[in-house]
């Protein structure tokens, strides 16, 4: 028999493991990442300014090739991801980011879908809850059934 204390410790260990792994996954930017991998990762995070929804990495447009070369130059000269990102945003505005920043007005792009989904969930819950509570048979229902039976038996 496992004691309640041991069970509680087990749960604490599971929670710590999950939180720890989530934090590692969130903050780990790849300590063993090569320069080539870093250039590729950065290229995948920027939108081609001249294309529709294509990343700099995917696009064959000349401007995308130029931005790839720019990223490679900056990485090779020791610039940080933030510096490269800031330079590209300065030149091509925040639209060059494939993932909008989670701050300022753009953060609403993340928040609004969640709000809509939550409102939808609340709506469906309320709807089904209403249906369940409205299943009581009323006197009017009974009268209707009785009347129908009378008509049938005639």
């Amino acid at each position: 028999m496992i004691s309640s204390k041991a069970r509680r410790l087990g749960w604490v260990a599971i929670v710590i493991s999950v939180v720890g792994m989530s934090l590692v996954a969130y903050f780990d930017t790849g300590g063993l990442e090569t320069q080539g991998e870093r250039i590729q990762r950065l290229s995948e995070s920027f939108a081609c300014p001249q294309c529709d929804g294509e990343s700099v990495s995917e696009s064959n447009a000349a401007v995308a090739a130029t931005i790839r070369a720019f990223i490679a130059d900056e990485v090779n000269s020791g610039q940080s991801d933030t510096e490269i990102r800031d330079d590209l945003v300065q030149a091509y505005t925040v639209r060059v980011l494939l993932n909008p920043p989670a701050s300022g007005l753009s953060s609403l792009l993340w928040v609004l879908p969640v709000v809509a989904a939550a409102a939808g969930a609340v709506g469906f819950t309320a709807l089904f809850d209403n249906r369940r509570t409205n299943q009581e048979v009323t006197d009017a229902d009974r009268k209707l059934v009785a009347s129908a039976r009378t008509d049938r038996d005639r």
Binding site: F70, A119, G123
Partner: protein, 176 residues
Amino acid sequence: MAEKRPQTARWIAGAIAVTLVGFIALLAVSGGEALGRSNRLLGEPVPSVAGDTLDGGSYDIADAGDRWVLVNFFATWCAGCIAEHPELLRFEEWANETGQAEMVAVVFNDPAERVEQFFAENGGDWPVIDTPSVPVSFQVSQIPETFLVSPDGIVVQHIAGEVQADTLIQTIEASS
């Protein structure tokens, strides 16, 4: 009780609709200005234009002194760039005669050998640099694109498309 359901549903549907409309509106306006052909550098100090030239020298716009500078973005695969080349040759001739201006070409995604061969065959003695940070800082996306920089180091003109030597010369003479 029976009337509560449609009323609640209406409120929820309204809330979702307002949220989605807000989301769509935000998507439409986010990011500020569009990445079109307008250029935010107009009226602003010129970014760095510096680098090794294809002929083994070096160029830095900071050394232009009190001359105007024509910064031309170029590639041999660009039909407009080839078409405007005679106009650039005319402008170079005027610039050399008057000493009022100088030119620099910036390669836009083209192998250096091809560019060198093009200049050898078609003329043009202005410096050519191949530095990817320059087209990025000038927000260049579709060439030919050319920028006219005043002696004060301010970007005064952005030409998206082929240049006309006479128009450039008139602009400079009118401002000098």
